[in-house]
Symmetry: C3
Subunit: 286 residues, 3 copies
Amino acid sequence: MPGFISGAEQLVRLVGNSESEGRIYVRHNPADLYEMGSAAPEPDGNLVMLYYLDGFIDAGAAGRLLTTHLMTTLEHNVVASFDLDSLLDYRSRRPIMTFVKDHWDDYDTPELALSLLRDAEGTPFLMLAGLEPDREWEAFTAAVRQLSAELRVRLAVGFQGIPMGVPHTRQLGVTAHATQPDLIEGYRPLVDKLQVPGSASALLEYRLGQEGRAAIGFAVHVPHYLAQAAYPAAAERLLESVQRVTGLALPADALRGTGRPVRAVPRRAGPGRESRVVTPAVAAAE
Amino acid sequence: MPGFISGAEQLVRLVGNSESEGRIYVRHNPADLYEMGSAAPEPDGNLVMLYYLDGFIDAGAAGRLLTTHLMTTLEHNVVASFDLDSLLDYRSRRPIMTFVKDHWDDYDTPELALSLLRDAEGTPFLMLAGLEPDREWEAFTAAVRQLSAELRVRLAVGFQGIPMGVPHTRQLGVTAHATQPDLIEGYRPLVDKLQVPGSASALLEYRLGQEGRAAIGFAVHVPHYLAQAAYPAAAERLLESVQRVTGLALPADALRGTGRPVRAVPRRAGPGRESRVVTPAVAAAE
Amino acid sequence: MPGFISGAEQLVRLVGNSESEGRIYVRHNPADLYEMGSAAPEPDGNLVMLYYLDGFIDAGAAGRLLTTHLMTTLEHNVVASFDLDSLLDYRSRRPIMTFVKDHWDDYDTPELALSLLRDAEGTPFLMLAGLEPDREWEAFTAAVRQLSAELRVRLAVGFQGIPMGVPHTRQLGVTAHATQPDLIEGYRPLVDKLQVPGSASALLEYRLGQEGRAAIGFAVHVPHYLAQAAYPAAAERLLESVQRVTGLALPADALRGTGRPVRAVPRRAGPGRESRVVTPAVAAAE
């Protein structure tokens, strides 16, 4: 497997730019981080993997809306479940519990899984979705790279909303970045150079690139006055970008809304609280 | 063991309400999370387990006061020690160290253990006490369920203070919740339905319920203007509730106080700082 | 190995002052926390180990400046790499990533390693440097103690800046603490007794002391109005103290500066952000 050693040595080898970045010691075997489900697709070399990890900047909840939209309107089956129990800091993102009268009635179990979905024409694709890990980003991205190598994923695509000083009355812009420039021809660069806080998603794209694998990230520009709200139009723009680059036939109707207002439901409380957004379509599906 | 698979598979099977919640992948064997001590009691099917995990809402420090009171006035021996070293985020709850003149003199080692105590009549009971884990809530609650199944615990009882718009001049109210309604007959429900941030304690009660095990939680109503203080009267109300449902003979005198003021000692600093409270009785015992 | 049991039992035995502190259950073998590099020095019983863990109080960035200074002006080779991937809470200290036009160009991999350096006269010494772990302080300090026992380290020396109500116009004071009083003769105690939040560095010194090993900590007094800035003069004072007690010939010229201003570069963002400081010397070396 390119750029990866598993098993007894439990080392994560990186195809780094520099000598010093060549190798990182990781105690645990990345393969122990997940358990295979029953839905593994046939590795025909034509699979696309979408991914969204909840916990970093996502203006207008654009990435989360798109993810929830796909996971609720398309049938999905688990390919691999990650051991989020040991990757998560529960006290910084306390899962929501439901109390009814005199007993605990429900617990919103945090999840992080790779699922198999099918688009409108029956074409299979993968979706990695769930909470961004607090720990073991190297082991986690190594595990995802291992899985995507085994499943012969041809392209990985991430997406998010970023806040921008733009109005909502014009078409929303989309910035693209990729491990190979030809993957995103036609997209205009936004900045020359920028140093920003990292995320597990960005690290995944970066490490895939170091291995010579194809990965793309889309960032839709969300008007800053809508950044904290749920903005389905931003999710729709991401869906268009994903559709164009992957060739998948993804249903957009439900995202476009029906004129009914967006209902926001708090999903997680405590420090780091973020809101879960339910569009009419999602609400109908629930 | 009901609802639990350990060993090679290292899966945590949940007796969930829904299909989707049936199984969660957990890398580590829950049995590795603790080490047995020398004080294991005879599993005669009559044991009660009290539990208090420090780190969530506890108005008036009611739960902590009661726990400290029991652990200092009654002899206790360790049944099982948990690997808090890997469950704790040290930097968010830095343990207190004592510096004397020219050297470090003491370190307040964080602890999480299941202990065996005896009440005033010599009846043995268990007490799970320590810091709420930051990580691995599923593995942790599975470990506690495993221990309580092995020790044939007949009833688990948790307790805490919650802030409420009530005066201290009337008797403090107590809300009860349980995995079986008949365990808390006579207690009046406070709300119909509520979504709240979860805690390791609430998850434990919920998971015990999913296995058909008996568990109760008491929440004493603490006047909101006393929520940040140490309020022994609230701990005393919890003690009464615990006593009534368990039949244990728990000493209350020391909690009732002697007219001397309550002294508050900072126990942990940094973000997430909380105060440790020493009642006259505890102070005398130290 | 004194005060340490590794292997199958995976217990960390502490040479504590009290019975109750005699033993702590730790799931993982501390030896698994690190991987040996190629640069292990000959254990001749004369090695000194300096250490600085980034993430706790360090007024004037004095400790970080000194560490960066030594690691950039002296050649260094890795003796042991720690599994920071599982010790770090990435989301509370997101590593910086560099974005260039249309792709992720660099990732600032968090590191924690024990390195071998040589002073101006060729004398070898050890330097433990990197991010303070969020987790497993007991296993981590046990691992460092294990390494320093194997390498027959004769003295461990930590250092930091602490804020103080002093002017910058006088010579900066230095407080010293040690596991053996004769190591720091001549230094005047600052306080009689103090309870403070712990750190991995302080715990290391404390645990070394419990084993009867020699360890010293220096804290330079930084004027409170400079505590948030980078203050090379404070790092220079630490260097003097370290030099005097160890006998090492450490280059100070670069730290003394050349009259050029200090440039501060943000190193890590998000909650817990701290600034990385680049002195003219470091900048030249980069």
